[in-house]
Every structure is written in structure tokens, then in C-alpha cells.
């Protein structure tokens, strides 16, 4: 049974900074929806969700997480946008023996070297994005690539992963240019990409950088010129910010698209009513994570972290986010990813009707083979 008469879940993410749209307060809303859908109670005790803004600062995040664990009886922390925060909180959760489920951060370290018996990675990671966009696009004929890469570790790993998949699938990487983080003007780089003659320009960056690059690519007529743009970390939230005029023709990978089937559409609309925006994979992933966590508690008959972690690894995931998802020993939730293309404005029939699903990438392909992840938990 529940240790202290209630189950408490903390949603910790960036609500005022650069990732506020990527997850933000809407993730909290998604968690609330999951609790409601579950019935508000588990094992007969109420489920409570609290939230905090870590302002993108790992120290603030770990301070809050500690306080939550130590003084507020929080049983698990989820969302955790941005890698530095996710890694820090996962390390802390490991020490405190509490569950953390990451839906907002991308780094594969979470289920690799820095994996934790209590840590789970739910929605996506850099690897799945790379496989989705890199592998699937080549199959669609995009076999020569040029990368615009943010000049730091995150960008490199996206570029490297994607490049590998491009090559594995018989494509070539004709070049890459590294741009500094928070570049405002991409025209120089775009011209270089244009003159490379590659069929696909891969944007191995994130956030405002990607948005600006896409917008300026439209201005320079890159897509009209016959080249494809592929954003490696981009969600519907950012597409909405760009508008279809600029984003049309863009290819990207997400773990969720609301307009994929009836069920997802229903969820999407409910979410939209509550938050004013359609969910992206972080929001839907958070919903799924909370739901699955509660299911695991119920199955385990206790909110004890060890028991719940065991159940989380055992239970299949079936909800609006994942079908037949499984959780690997390293904590990675393995589920299908979707290669999406942004519609032309005239193709869009309703608000937020933004994507065509080009391909579904099966979970087994999308995520790193747990045995090769470098996580100690797998071998033992």
C-alpha cells in the first residue's frame, strides 16, 4: 500500500525559459489529465501532482527535487526537460531511491552510462530522432545529406547518429557546417548547404536555432529549389510557432502526433481545450508516463520504488502515446516513432492539422539495443 496515505508526483520542468513551450505548464496539465483518467486514486489513496519551474538551472532543479523527496514525500519526479537537469535529478533519485521518468530531455546518457534502476526515459531520445529522420528519409530517396550542426555536444551527437543511419541505409553525407549556439542569421550556412547540392539538409540543432534556419531557408527558396529540410529535434509546438508558410515541406520525427488516429485526436482535442495548444511528444509522453506509473503502483500494490520500478519494467505500455510499448532493463521505454512531413498551408484542413505521417519507425529500430547502451543494469 501507499506509504504515506497518498501518491505524490512532481512535474519539474522549464516553465519560463527557452523550453517553456516544449513542455512547460502544459506538461503539468497532461499529468493532471492522466491522474483524472486513472480515476484520481490509486490503491485507495489520492494521487497528487505538484509542479515547479526549474528555470533551466540544474542547481535549482536538484534543490527542488531534494526538498520534494525529503520534506514533501514526493514519490516520483517526471518530465525533466533539458539534459543537465534530467541527469542531475536522475542521479539524485537514484541516491534517494525514488522513481524518475524523463520525457523532456533528449540525451541517451540517461539510459546509457548514467542509467539508474529507478530512472526511466519515456518519450524520445537523440538516437530515435536520428534513426527516424536519418534512416527513414533515405529510404524515401533523400540519400545525400548536408548537416547544419549546433556547435556543441548535443549537435554533434545528433549529426553523428543521423549520419550513421544515413550511411547504413546507403546514403552519403556530403558535408556539414557547424554553427554556434544561438546564431541568428543562418543565411551563410544555408548558402553553403545549398551549394553542396545535397538532397537533404539536416538541422542538427534545437529550438530557436532550428526555427530561424527553417524560416531563412524558406526565404532563400531552398525547399522550392528541390532540397529537403529535415529537423532533427523539432515538435509540433515549434512548427506552430513557425507557421506553415515557412515550415512546409519540413521533415521531422516525433513520438506522437495528435491527428494520427481517432484516439489520439480525441486526446489532442481534450488537451487543446485545457491548454490552448495541441500536445507534442513531451506532453503526450508525460501523460503516458504518469498513467503507466499509476498502473505500476496498482499492480505492485505499493508505491515502494523498488516494487514500482520492477512493475514498470514488466508492464506493456498501451495508451494514446504508445502501442505495445515495452520498457527495457536500462529504463528505456521502447515504442514507435513517426516520420512526419509538414503540410502545405492549403493541405491543412483545420487548426494544428500540420503533419503527414510519412513512415512509422518500429520501436526496435528507433531505440538503441539495450544490450549496447552501455548501461550496467542490462548485463546483470
Amino acid at each position: 500500500d501507499a506509504s504515506d496515505g497518498k501518491v505524490k508526483i512532481g512535474i519539474l520542468n522549464d516553465q519560463s525559459g527557452v523550453y517553456a513551450d516544449f513542455g512547460g505548464k502544459s506538461s503539468y496539465e497532461a499529468a493532471l489529465m492522466a491522474v483524472e483518467d486513472f480515476g484520481g486514486k490509486v490503491l485507495g489513496v489520492p494521487v497528487e501532482v505538484i509542479t515547479a519551474d526549474h528555470q533551466n538551472k540544474p542547481d535549482i532543479a536538484s534543490n527542488i527535487a531534494r526538498q520534494w523527496y525529503d520534506t514533501e514525500q514526493v514519490d516520483s519526479i517526471m518530465e525533466l526537460t533539458t539534459s543537465s537537469v534530467a541527469l542531475a535529478v536522475q542521479a539524485l533519485s537514484k541516491e534517494k531511491k525514488r522513481i524518475d521518468i524523463v520525457t523532456g530531455a533528449a540525451t541517451t546518457e540517461l539510459t546509457g552510462k548514467q542509467c539508474s534502476p529507478y530512472g526511466f526515459h519515456w518519450a524520445y531520445d537523440t538516437h530515435s530522432l536520428a534513426v527516424g529522420t536519418g534512416g527513414a528519409l533515405v529510404k524515401q530517396g533523400g540519400d545525400s545529406w548536408f548537416f547544419l550542426t549546433a556547435d556543441y555536444a548535443f549537435g554533434y551527437s545528433l549529426e553523428e547518429n543521423t549520419g550513421n543511419y544515413v550511411k547504413e541505409n546507403g546514403g552519403t553525407v556530403v558535408g556539414a557546417v557547424r554553427h554556434p549556439l544561438a546564431t541568428t542569421d543562418f543565411s551563410s550556412f544555408l548558402l553553403q548547404a545549398q551549394s553542396s547540392g545535397a538532397k537533404v539538409i539536416g538541422l542538427a540543432n534545437a529550438g530557436l536555432d532550428t526555427s530561424n534556419a527553417i524560416k531563412q531557408a524558406a526565404e532563400f527558396g531552398i525547399v522550392q529549389g528541390g532540397q529537403r529540410l529535415a529537423a532533427l529535434l523539432f515538435t509540433i509546438a515549434e512548427v506552430h510557432g513557425l507557421g506553415l508558410d515557412a515550415a512546409q515541406g519540413l521533415t521531422l520525427t516525433e513520438g506522437f502526433y495528435w491527428n494520427r488516429n481517432e484516439e489520439t485526436a480525441k486526446f489532442g482535442k481534450r488537451f487543446m481545450e485545457r491548454t490552448g495548444r495541441m500536445p507534442n511528444m513531451t506532453h503526450a509522453g508525460t501523460y503516458s508516463a504518469v498513467l503507466q506509473y499509476l498502473k505500476a503502483i496498482e499492480k505492485a500494490g505499493s508505491d515502494d520504488a523498488d516494487a514500482v520500478a520492477k512493475e514498470l519494467r514488466a508492464l506493456p505500455v498501451n495508451d494514446i502515446f504508445a502501442q505495445n510499448g515495452t520498457v527495457a532493463p536500462n529504463g528505456r521505454m521502447i515504442h514507435d516513432m513517426y516520420l512526419l512531413e509538414v503540410k502545405k498551408p492549403e493541405e491543412s484542413k483545420e487548426p494544428w492539422d500540420y503533419f503527414k505521417v510519412l513512415a512509422t519507425i518500429p520501436g526496435k529500430e528507433a531505440f538503441i539495443d539495450p544490450a549496447k547502451s552501455g548501461c550496467d543494469l542490462v548485463k546483470s
Binding site: S16, D53, P58, I60, N63
Partner: protein
């Protein structure tokens, strides 16, 4: 000299001896800090102490040399990286790890200071800002910082080989000890013959040159000292949170430390302690509230500049009670 209004200081009054009052204050303060973990969350306290030391080190430069650095995050975050790396990758014990952080920050301070002290006032601020931005980009791209992930799971290790710092009481009292030592060093520097020269340079630089002082060297020395002490705070923070990330080197962090100093009272020894306490509490509080942090921070900033430039401690010194107790806070124009 343009920096007159920033040159606040505590002045002992003649006749009535404020030493006793101050000693009492000091004793009470220290006792409170020793007992604080009984009432407050220790990690929060440790964070506060780190930032307080950071702000005091920053104030050594602003309040006593009249130089506004907009790039102190480089030393703070830089030291955090150095310490984290030394402890995690080289396996150094915590005390040596912190020393590596201090040395790294001092070196960085020497480089940035070399360029910055060539100009004064606003130019100085701009140059430190730009150079620290360069360092930020360096940290973003360098291998050892692990980019966005940061250096994680930094082991706290055993102090002097036998005090286990993973236990929070040990860690807290270690941090407190380092803090007290840091403050003592700052106090000593300010109240030393060297500090007297810094003061006189701030008051009239040309005159100091004409007396034969190599003003640039003194400024550089003060800059490096401030950077090194900032590094002490940064290295300690890396151990407290067991991580070092990009947020600590960003220019917003430089802004934050200015806010702490301004709030607490520029040119007061312990003002920054209160400023840091307020800012850290505010951030923690706002994290779980509806209010967006940046807006509040911005408004506090503006209000401070417009309404109480002396800061909390400065206003106290200047109040009737403060004066009675023997503090005098001179606000100069």
C-alpha cells in the same frame, strides 16, 4: 571620478566604540549559521553560502575597487567545471579539487583582467561581459564540460582523506568553514594596507599614479583576488550539487550576482550575504509559484536602483538604529 556613488563603505565613528556591537553581531551571526541546519534545509543553506561568498567576492571588486564586472559568472562557473573535472576525472580529493577551481578561476581572472583593466567604468563592464561570453562559448564546445549535459555525479569524496562529505552534516560544516575562511580573507584584504591603496585608487586614480602606484597592477591584483575567491565559491558549489553546468557560466549569472550585491548593499562586507539569501530564496519560492521568475527579478532590480540603492544592509547602517549602533554608511556623490 565617475564611480563615486558606488563607493559606499562602513565607517567607524569616533568616540563610541562600535567594535563591541560588531563583535556581538558577528558572534550571533556565526551562531545562527552553525545552528541553521536545524531549522532550514541544508542544501538550500549550502547553496546560499556558495552564492553569498560569490557575491562577497564580487563585491570586493565593485564595492572596494569601484570596478563593475559583468563577467564574474566565468569565474564562478569556470571554477565549478575545473573542480568537478578534477574531482571526477582525476580523482583528486575535494580540498585539492577546490584548489584547482580557485587556481583556474584566478588564471582566467588574470587573462580577462588583463584586457578589462585597460578601460574604466562602463567600458570595463562591457569588456568583462564580452570576454566572459567568449568563455561561455568555450565551455559550451569544450569536451570536458560535456556540453548541455554538464559534468554530472561529481563525487564529494573524503575531506583530507577521512571526513566523508557525502554526509550532509559534514558537507554543511565544510561549506560553512570555507565560507567563513573566504569572508575572513575578503575582510583581511579590505582592511589591509593593500586595501587602503585600492580604496585610494577608487577615490582618485590619477593621484594614485602620481604617488607612484602602478594602478593597473593593483587593479589586476584585486581582479584576480576577486576571481579566485569567486572560484572558491564556484568550486564549492560543484561539490554541493555534485554537478557543473552551463548555467553558471552564462551572463545571466553575472547579472544575478550583481543583483545580490545591489540588494544587500554595495560596499558592505556582509550585505551580499543578505542579498544572496534573498535572491536564492526568491528563486526557490518562485519556482513553485505562479509568478514568472524573470519578471520578478527584473522588477526587483529596477526597484533597487530607483528606490534603495544602498541595499538592505546599507539602508540599515544608514538608519537611525544603525547609526546608533555605530555603523555609518557613507553614500557619496
Amino acid at each position: 571620478m565617475p564611480d563615486m556613488t558606488l563607493t559606499l563603505e562602513m565607517q567607524k565613528q569616533k568616540g563610541r566604540s562600535p567594535v563591541i556591537v560588531q563583535t556581538v553581531f558577528l558572534g550571533v551571526g556565526l551562531a545562527l549559521l552553525l545552528l541553521a541546519p536545524l531549522f532550514f534545509y541544508p542544501v538550500f543553506l549550502m547553496k546560499l553560502l556558495c552564492f553569498a561568498l560569490f557575491a562577497c567576492a564580487f563585491n570586493l571588486l565593485l564595492g572596494y575597487t569601484g570596478l563593475l564586472s559583468f563577467g564574474h559568472a566565468a569565474f564562478f562557473g569556470g571554477a565549478a567545471y575545473f573542480t568537478a573535472h578534477a574531482v571526477k576525472e582525476w580523482g583528486l580529493p575535494p580540498e585539492l579539487g577546490i584548489l584547482v577551481g580557485v587556481a583556474g578561476a584566478a588564471l582566467l581572472g588574470a587573462v580577462i583582467g588583463f584586457f578589462a583593466i585597460r578601460r574604466q567604468g562602463i567600458y570595463f563592464a562591457m569588456i568583462t561581459l564580452a570576454l566572459s561570453q567568449m568563455f561561455y562559448f568555450f565551455c559550451l564546445q569544450a569536451e570536458f564540460t560535456h556540453g548541455e549535459d554538464g559534468i554530472q555525479s561529481v563525487p564529494r569524496g573524503h575531506l583530507f582523506g577521512f571526513i566523508d562529505l557525502s554526509h550532509w552534516t559534514n558537507m554543511y560544516y565544510f561549506v560553512l568553514a570555507v565560507f567563513v575562511i573566504g569572508i575572513a580573507i575578503i575582510w583581511r584584504i579590505i582592511n589591509s594596507p593593500f586595501g587602503m591603496i585600492l580604496k585610494s585608487i577608487r577615490e582618485n586614480e590619477t593621484r594614485a599614479i602620481s604617488l607612484g602606484y602602478s594602478v593597473r597592477n593593483y587593479k589586476l591584483a584585486a581582479f584576480v583576488m576577486s576571481a579566485a575567491l569567486t572560484g572558491l565559491a564556484g568550486g564549492m558549489k560543484a561539490l554541493v550539487f555534485q554537478l557543473a553546468t552551463l548555467t553558471d557560466v552564462g551572463w545571466q549569472m553575472s547579472g544575478e550576482v550583481i543583483l545580490m550585491t545591489l540588494l544587500g548593499g554595495i560596499g558592505t562586507l556582509i550585505g551580499p550575504l543578505f542579498g544572496a539569501g534573498l535572491v536564492v530564496t526568491l528563486q526557490n519560492y518562485l519556482a513553485t509559484s505562479e509568478f514568472p521568475v524573470t519578471i520578478i527579478t527584473g522588477v526587483v532590480f529596477m526597484a533597487c536602483v530607483l528606490l534603495f540603492r544602498r541595499g538592505i544592509v546599507g539602508e540599515f547602517y544608514n538608519s537611525r538604529l544603525g547609526r546608533k549602533l555605530g555603523f555609518e554608511h557613507r553614500h557619496k556623490h
